[in-house]
Every structure is written in C-alpha cells, then in structure tokens.
Symmetry: C2
Subunit: 110 residues, 2 copies
C-alpha cells in the first residue's frame, strides 16, 4: 500500500482564499480546464473520475490540467481505488472570487 | 495631416459581444492590464492619456497592453492632438461578460 499512500499524499489542496487572483485567472484562461469545470458543474459531486472526461489532450496533459485546477482552489480530488474522483469547489471559490467562476463557465461560447 | 490620419485609422474597436471568452480572459490575466483597467475605473471617462499611467514597463510594452485591452473590447481609445485618451467600456463589456470585469478588477490583491 506504500504506493497508494504516496499517491494520496500528492493530493495537496489549498484554500481558495489563499489563491492569488493571477493564479485563478491563469487557471480559468484555458479552454480544456474550463470544459472540465463545466462538466463538474453539471454532475453530482465526487461522481466524475479523471479518466471519464472527454478531453482533446493526452493523459499527461490532462493530469497537468487537473493539477492546475486543484492548485487554484477550483477542484478537490480524492483517490478511490484506482480512480481519482473530483469535486468542483464552487462555494469556496465563489467566496474567494465572487462572480468569477460563473462569469467564466456559465457560458457556452467555448 | 496624413500621419495623423494613419494613426487614427489604426484605432480599430470591436464590439465586446464579438470578443471570444478566451480573448477576454487572456486580456484580464495580466497584472499590468488590470492596473490600467482599475485606474480607468476610478477616473472620469476620457481623462486619462496613455502616457499618464504609472506602469512598470517600457513604452512599447505599455502600448501593446493598451492594444490588447482595446482588441478585447475593454477600452475605447481616441486621439486628441498628441495624446491618446482612454475610456473603460464597462457597460458594454458587462453586457457581453456579466460579472467578469467586476470579479477581476474590484479587488486590491494584485
């Protein structure tokens, strides 16, 4: 189980209130990341594993995008067996950046 | 006056409604551009010339930033003699991207 422990430890999360505006905007200024967020916004929390997103990028790139979203306080992740599940941190992020997430993902022009 | 005409013709403006979300986010995801927008937000329209902003960049870079803001539908510019005056297109941009500008510049953490 040592491997799983190491993997779990890598899932560091930050309080969105501690995220600089620049990091939040950088995270949102990418169409693949916005598509992940939109997908999470319309599904129940913790129901989407990373591998279930239909993304136009390779797996390593997708992992990077999830990592950027986590570092920006936009998503929470947890490992469940071989699956890495995701949750949109909507209320926490909205508290830190009022209106920013809605202004960015509540659109369909991407 | 041919030179002035050429200079004036270079000031093309776009309707914020025609600006892609990606271009709007890219324009906002820069601290120098946000400082220009914040400055414009607290001054009367058409009172600030490009040369009057206190920016930590060279003149050519500053010109580029103003150009990006204009192309994203965030500012309107007009030449008055040797001065290039600016106006924040707050209401037009807000109509196209509700809440995005406020979420980005109504903060002081930059």
């Amino acid at each position: 189980m040592a491997v799983e422990s190491t993997r779990a430890r890598s899932l560091t999360h930050v309080d969105p209130a501690e995220v600089p505006l620049q990091a939040a905007l950088d995270a949102l200024a990418d169409p693949v990341r916005r598509s992940i967020l939109r997908d999470l916004a319309v599904h129940d929390e913790w129901t989407r594993a990373c591998g279930t997103f239909d993304l136009p990028v390779k797996k390593a790139t997708a992992s990077h995008h999830f990592s950027v979203l986590r570092a920006a306080g936009l998503i929470e992740q947890r490992d469940e067996g071989a699956r890495r599940l995701n949750r949109l941190r909507r209320s926490e992020f909205d508290s830190a950046f009022p209106g920013l997430l809605s202004a960015t993902i509540d659109r369909d022009d991407d």
